[in-house]
Symmetry: C2
Subunit: 174 residues, 2 copies
């Protein structure tokens, strides 16, 4: 692999499914269905969103950049899709699905053997306008970490009252 940037991004992208699996599989539902209040996401909702992203977002857009450049605007991504698509699926099913889709996407990404010059190729995001391949790969990577952060935050806050005076020492509780 020719690029430190790509290698470092892949090192996160390939670890996320196992990380979420270690954290969430077979956890009591009180944790995995906890939210931060109305219209916020539970860990279960986040997993559905990540599954949908593997299917409809990152690699699809990367391939649009490679095939069409900025001339073909990306399809909008449905940030509520998981509420429809996860119906009837257990959390372990979503964890399995995410792992399989991610493995497949990273296999395709490696086969593309992207060269540094290609990171500057441009695409058109329906809201953000001009973006580069490098920004897309970075956003995919940071998006994984942002949702791991979210899952950790949602679950930590479930214990806000339980921790009593210790909440003072835990900035997540503020």
């Amino acid at each position: 692999m020719s690029s430190t940037f790509l290698k470092e991004s892949l090192s996160i992208l390939e670890r996320t499914p196992a990380t979420l699996n270690a954290l969430l599989r077979d956890l009591p539902e009180a944790w995995t269905t906890a939210t931060e209040g109305p219209d916020t996401w539970s860990p279960y909702d986040v997993m559905g969103h990540l599954v949908h992203g593997e299917r409809d977002d990152w690699m699809k857009r990367l391939e649009i950049i490679l095939e069409h450049g900025p001339s073909r605007t990306f399809d909008p991504f449905d940030r509520q899709a998981q509420f429809r698509e996860s119906a009837g699926k257990s959390l372990p099913m979503l964890l399995d699905e995410f792992m399989a889709l991610r493995q497949d996407n990273l296999k395709r990404l490696r086969e593309l053997d992207l060269q540094p010059a290609q990171f500057e190729l441009q695409g058109t995001h329906p809201t953000l306008g001009t973006v580069t391949m490098r920004q897309l790969l970075s956003a995919w990577t940071a998006h994984d970490l942002a949702h791991l952060l979210q899952v950790s935050r949602v679950m930590a806050k479930r214990y806000k009252q339980e921790t009593g005076p210790w909440a003072r020492f835990l900035s997540v509780m503020k």
Copy 2:
């Protein structure tokens, strides 16, 4: 196990070492030594702090509550200890150490076979004053999640510039 509270707390406490292992082991150092600026912690620093906590904080204090109640104030916990104690240790060594210490602590905790009435036992924290066993177990659990959140945040922010316009959609970048 007699208590849903204890079972739910243990379900997080027992998963944290594997979660951090899946996320951090063999990750490029650019990620594991990243910080949020001067006097902030890297993922490596966090792992040293978690190791020190297993050795000197949670179970030690729990046992002080059981043996002495509120009459014996907990020893202060050194939140900078990892900068001394991690010296010369690789991140994989810290991950292994954390896993072994946590397993040992949870084995001892299970052997205590705590009953719900014992969750109301009181201890004396050097800064926070009176705390209960239940608050201590909750804080231990939430502390794991808070540091998983921190590690995710530190690493996500490393890509703030890289994500370009996508930073708008990632609240962690704000």
